[in-house]
């Protein structure tokens, strides 16, 4: 579990996060959503320690990440896996070497054991055949999957994904979402995804934090979104007429389903 307690962050005079508190729950896919400039990327960078916060606390399973010595911080970081927006694969290494890199750096296992683990992870993301290819030779979706394989190779407790669907077609996006969801539930990880992809929100959002102008505007699950009365959230999520219609239809479906279940119970 990751807890953000009254965190504050600004750049000079400009305040990005005035005072945000949130909890990222274990075993769930936690989404941070919001329009561009709402502070979600800054919030994620603060959470992983790429940016220092100006005030407040970030707790990883109760341990204060913000005020701990550098060595302890490094130990926490070794339990973090991160998928970057642009995948951040090492250009000069093959897919296999990219996934092997964290193992080479931190694992004490033999080469055979490491290779077996790499192949296990690549198989998990269905990329075993691309092991010998370089990042420049594979597609955007494949790069994201290699990024996921690299992020999970050390069995992290926390998984962070920065816009995992950006630049991907809807089918590949769904595949990535499904993969992240499966991994999270299978390994009981604390997953935090930063996104503005509505498919991800509706498909994977076990726990959603909606950011608006640097503040937490709304919090709930993907099921709660359908019935949410928050205007700003509704404007953001159901921005088009098509999505608004889809929302109403889904509400009706859910009412009917509830009604039908009640009748079944009575009979």
């Amino acid at each position: 579990m990751i807890e953000l307690v009254n965190i504050k962050k600004g750049f000079g005079e400009k305040v990005i996060l005035p005072d945000v508190s949130a909890v990222m729950e274990t075993g769930k896919v936690n989404l941070i959503i919001g329009s561009s400039g709402s502070g979600k990327t800054v919030m994620m960078k603060c959470m992983v320690g790429l940016m220092e916060i100006d005030g407040g606390k970030i707790l990883y399973d109760g341990q204060d990440f913000t005020n701990m010595p550098e060595q302890d911080r490094k130990n926490i970081r070794r339990q973090i896996g991160m998928l970057f927006q642009g995948s951040a694969l090492f250009d000069s290494m093959t897919v296999e070497q990219n996934v092997m890199f964290p193992l080479d750096m931190f694992s004490t296992g033999t080469l055979k054991e490491k290779k077996a683990r790499v192949m296990e992870c690549l198989e998990r993301v269905q990329l075993k055949d691309a092991a010998k290819k370089f990042p420049a030779e594979i597609s955007g979706g494949m790069k994201k999957r290699v990024g996921i394989a690299r992020a999970i190779v050390l069995n992290p407790k926390y998984l962070f994904c920065d816009e995992p669907n950006s630049g991907l077609d809807p089918q590949t996006s769904l595949l990535i979402d499904k993969l992240i969801k499966e991994i999270t539930h299978e390994f009981n990880m604390t997953t935090v995804i930063n996104t503005h992809d509505m498919n991800t929100v509706m498909e994977s959002g076990d726990h959603i934090v909606y950011m608006y102008q640097g503040k937490k505007q709304w919090e709930g699950s993907n099921k709660d979104i359908i019935f949410s009365k928050d205007e700003k959230l509704n404007d953001f999520i159901f921005a088009s007429d098509f999505l608004r219609d889809a929302k109403e239809m889904r509400q009706m479906e859910m009412f009917q389903e509830k009604d039908w279940r009640n009748k079944l119970k009575k009979s």
Binding site: V48, R77, R78, F84, Q85, A88, M105, F106
Partner: protein
């Protein structure tokens, strides 16, 4: 301007300080160090070979052109070529060229890694990126660049010998005689000392510009150019300072 200088100098010193920490995995650091040795040393061998040969040849021809007095023995040309190459051309000219070749490569490599979030990815893994990415480059430069300068010195003198022979300026015997005239081993120490200082500048300054680059592809190019310019200026500045300090009679 003054404040920008102190900002950059302070950040540069902090970057150097940040390199010193216990390596996460010594084998990986060694691997990276060896990779940099090959990139910097072997990768620059071709250009060093070409410039030093022509540098020696041109020096011989130009000194012969200037020493027109019949009372000056021909062997003096070789003596002047030797001292010019050892004291100045091999360390300074070679390092100016290496600032362009190695410096721009270091700045653009690190800049690209920064912009494509590869450095962030390593940071999140718990790696000290300054230690893993910058320290091996500086160490490799400190070892390989003095070696390249030694090679440049030998090749420069050999180029001078061949240019003298082929151009009918002086014979090989006269050249060898000149090389042995008034030989000061201190000059070798001076050249090597300069090469260590220049090697440190060539690797650390572009590392700074590359590591802290912000923006996109355009900024990588700008950082790379700025790194080469600053490196060249610093090399020339230190060249003067070291000559003024170490070459006093």
């Amino acid at each position: 301007m003054e404040f920008r200088f102190f900002h950059h100098f302070g950040s540069y010193l902090l970057m150097l300080k940040g390199m010193f920490s216990r390596p996460e995995n010594m084998r990986m650091y060694w691997k990276e160090f060896m990779r940099q040795c090959v990139d910097i040393g072997i990768g620059s061998l071709g250009i060093v070979f070409i410039i030093s040969l022509f540098m020696g040849a041109v020096t011989t021809v130009q000194i012969a052109y200037q020493l027109v007095s019949p009372i000056i023995p021909k062997a003096t040309i070789a003596q002047v070529v030797r001292d010019t190459i050892i004291l100045e051309f091999a360390p300074t000219l070679t390092c100016i060229v290496l600032a362009g070749v190695v410096g721009s490569k270091i700045a653009s490599e690190l800049g690209n890694m920064r912009v494509s979030e590869q450095i962030d990815a390593q940071e999140i893994m718990g790696i000290n990126t300054r230690g893993y990415l910058i320290a091996p480059k500086i160490m490799a430069s400190l070892i390989m660049i003095p070696c390249l300068i030694c090679i440049a010195g030998f090749l420069g003198i050999w180029g001078g010998l061949k240019a003298g022979e082929l151009g009918g300026i002086l014979s090989a015997e006269q050249f060898w005689q000149g090389l042995r005239q008034e030989w000061k081993p201190y000059n070798i120490f001076f050249a090597l000392f300069k090469s260590f200082v220049f090697a440190f500048i060539i690797s650390s300054v572009p590392s700074y510009y590359g590591y802290y680059v912000q923006g996109g592809a355009l900024e990588i190019g700008k950082a790379s150019t700025r790194a080469v310019v600053v490196t060249c200026v610093l090399i020339l500045f230190m060249d003067y300072i070291l000559a003024a300090i170490l070459l006093q009679n």
